[in-house]
């Protein structure tokens, strides 16, 4: 393993309930201190990829049936989440899964589960420093927070674990554009200032490719495209399907047909 690689996914296949194959021969590299973005439309298998890394497939009866996931010398495919989190991989699940009946600060404290008994005051300060709006909500129940506050809360909660690899699943989902921009800026700062390696799953390719160093595009459980983020931003297919920029002017029915053909080629 190249020594600036933090995570190497080698040809993994993932199967749910022993029969439903979702990922087919997926390979990805994640370099230390980089932001790697994983793009793809609904049902492509992005969340499944993150769960394969974090061990959260297990409770869903999913399994890595082929290939390996190498994380800093450990083979972590099919390990339990208790083990994987303690190696420094923390996943922020899609849908802002806060603990509704815990206060904001209690939510943050759950983030210390991997290092129970160690001091955490400094980490709390760090989280409040990045996510200033949380300070005012410290002692209110997370269930009553707004969507933006919740997104900050779940990212902040993951930071409390002092992760080396942070997996973010669609942090922009359902948030107002300004807020998305703010959150992506914070993600970028966390990467630069804390040196945290990030894997960012997004449908908002535009934002994701602006802060990412490298990107992968996934369709139907396969990686169909990969490259430096700046190259992907210029790639005509990515532009058309993920950045919402048509190659030229208005979209006519002919173009739609063509687009469909191009899409097919990726599968």
């Amino acid at each position: 393993m190249e020594n600036n690689l933090l995570l190497q996914i080698n040809n993994i296949s993932v199967v749910y309930s022993d029969v439903i194959q979702i990922l087919k021969a997926v390979s990805m590299d994640v370099r230390k201190s980089q932001i790697v973005s994983l793009l793809g439309s609904n049902g492509a298998g992005k969340t499944t990829t993150l769960k394969a890394i974090s061990g959260l497939l297990k409770p869903e009866n999913g399994k890595v049936t082929e290939g390996t996931i190498d994380y800093g010398g450990h083979n972590v495919q099919n390990s339990a989440p208790e083990t994987i989190t303690r190696l420094g991989i923390i996943q922020v699940m899609e849908g802002r899964q806060a603990f509704k009946y815990l206060t904001v600060e209690e939510n943050l404290r759950v983030g210390t589960a991997t290092r129970w008994g160690k001091p955490y005051k400094k980490d709390l300060e760090m989280v409040y420093h990045y996510f200033a709006p949380l300070v005012a909500r410290k002692s209110s129940l997370a269930g009553y927070c707004s969507g933006g506050e919740l997104q900050m809360l779940v990212i902040g909660r993951a930071l409390m674990a002092q992760p080396r690899l942070l997996l973010l699943d669609e942090p922009s989902l359902g948030l107002a554009p300004l807020l998305v921009k703010e959150i992506f800026e914070i993600i970028k700062r966390i990467n630069e200032e804390q040196g945290t390696t990030l894997m960012l799953v997004e449908q908002n390719a535009n934002m994701a490719l602006q802060i990412a160093h490298f990107g992968y595009v996934m369709e139907n459980g396969k990686i169909v495209l990969e490259g430096d983020a700046k190259d992907l931003r210029e790639n005509p297919d990515v532009k058309e399907f993920y950045l919402g920029v048509a190659a030229s002017g208005t979209i006519k029915s002919y173009k739609d047909v063509k687009a469909y053909k191009r899409r097919k080629r990726w599968l």
Binding site: L56, P81, T85, M93, V110, A113, W116
Partner: protein, 292 residues
Amino acid sequence: MEFFFQIVITGLSLGFLYALAALGFVMIFKSSSVLNFAHGGLMAIGAFLFLVLSAWARLPIWLAFLLTLIGSFSLGFIIERFFLRPLIGEALIEVIMLTLGLFYMIKGLLLFIFGGDLYSYPDFLPPVLTFHWGGIEVTGVYVATFIIGLIFLGLFGFFFKYSSQGIYMRSVADNQPAAMALGVHVRRVFALSWAIAALVAAMSGIVLGIINGINVHEVSDIGLKVFPVVILGGLDSIGGAVLGGIIIGLLETFTGGYISTGLREVIPYIALIIILLIKPYGLFGLVEIERV
């Protein structure tokens, strides 16, 4: 008026006893959604363990108490590890059958060893506990129950509210996948909730023994009393368990004191049915937070 106060105080201490009993039941349900029908059995084990250690082995009371708590805590761990864990992910009915089976196994075992006789603990309560105020006299057992209940409910409240382990336990009850993603050891939380539940069950068993003396049938059947209490309070609410316990305790002593002693035993169940008809999720059950 004096009679009234006496009834309030005995009702409150009885209420604390029920609250303690219900607390363990609610903890297990909250963390792992298991309805523990063996709860009365755990109470009985605690009560008889204390009897053996204090009256038969003649250990100092504090030591007997401590050993009983440690023993019950470990027993809770063992039960989770060997009986419940293999059933994780199985249908609810299987888990319920298992806890029912455990209950009858424990009861049968205790009947085999101790028979159906009534035992009582050595009289260890200092006489100063008996409480005189004007013409009111509240006997030491009720005062002791009151104090023990207050101390332990306070301790548990503190544990769940402020300690990291308590917060991890609540996080599992709240959103298990999210807790797992943060590295909370969910199976360990299940085991810990069984251990703590067995510990509080033992404690309430002892308290019950102090008030009424102990008898296998009586102690294990009072485990049934937790149902009106937790249904009143809401199955998933620890605060509700405490309030539910106090309400049932007061209801019993007031019915016994002013209406008839015969009705006293029945009234919790009558209340249970009425409440189920009006508020199926309990008076203090969690109100689902809709906004997200």
